[in-house]
């Protein structure tokens, strides 16, 4: 069974910082305890891995990107330029396309409403311009030819009455 005292020793401080007496206590114990031995081995591997990772980080920072400074300065200038633009301009940049398309649609609708004739007016104008009724068109009657003058109408009426007498 694992000894919590040994495990606490392993986890309390880095292995490299353990005192000689602590290390001796651990070594003596793990000789007779397989589970604590496995924990000790794992702690050693863990310490080694963390050290390797730290060494690699130190190596990487030594070979930093030479263009890093340029990149940071460019980002800073961009950020500053963004901050200098007035709030309305920033709003316009964000929503300009949408607002412009909405304005164009509204203007187009207004033009269509006020400038173009409505369908009723168009019908009236069409009726006024074309002297044919629907019947004349359907019956194909030549209205101009059949048009009677007032005199002809009166004489026709009176002739009919006279004949009736």
């Amino acid at each position: 069974m694992k000894d919590n005292h040994i495990l606490d020793l392993l986890d309390y401080a880095p292995l490299a910082n353990l005192s000689e007496s602590d290390l001796r206590t651990i070594r003596v114990h793990v000789e007779t305890c397989a589970e604590c031995n496995r924990a000790f081995e794992a702690a050693q591997v863990s310490a080694l891995l963390v050290k390797e990772r730290a060494d690699e980080a130190a190596e990487n920072s030594a070979t930093a990107n030479p263009f890093f400074q340029t990149r940071v300065l460019a980002a800073w200038r961009e950020q500053q330029a963004g901050n200098r633009v007035p709030a309305f301009r920033r709003l316009w940049n964000a929503t300009g396309a949408l607002v412009a398309s909405m304005a164009a649609t509204t203007a187009a609708l207004a033009v269509l409403t006020f400038m173009a004739p409505s369908s009723d007016t168009l019908n009236q104008q069409t009726v006024a311009l074309v002297p044919y009724s629907a019947e004349t068109v359907v019956l194909d009657q030549d209205q101009v030819d059949n048009q009677m003058t007032d005199d002809q109408v009166l004489s026709a009426i009176y002739v009919d009455e006279d004949e009736g007498k």
């Binding site: 496995r38 794992a42 863990s46 891995l49 963390v50 990772r53 730290a54 980080a57 950020q79």
Partner: protein, 162 residues
Amino acid sequence: MAYRFFRERSLAEEAAQETFLKAFAQLKSFEGRGSMEGWLTRIATNTCLNILRAARRRPELVTADLSEDESDWLEKKASEAPGEQRPDVEQQVIAADLAERLLQTLPPEDRLALTMIDGEGASVNEVAQLTGWSESKVKVRAFRARKKAREALERLLGGTGK
């Protein structure tokens, strides 16, 4: 500083850039009481921690996640006596890969405490000053990180046939 947190160069540079941008923007708030380096390092630490917090943490590392090289490395290291390691670039890369994957399973704060104290040999007090945490918090974070890392490796070593 950023390389402590991020193994990938682009991520480390992104964190460093954000750090400098924050520092430029808050330059007026630097009162000159401490060193400029310390002030910058603290901004960098907070920036990196925030980036790590926003990223999804990896679930527990299991044997099936290990590559063949990593399994071999673990088996070899577990059977090797301490101090027997020979410098080998390929082995170092495998170890750094495995370490990164192991660290990614830890909470960012635990990871920071472990890498600084165990990896770089920083004192509890130095980490406390860098992060603004209390010393007892640093100790607890480091203890928890060591325990988690050790337990994960115990499972992995058990799974690799050791």
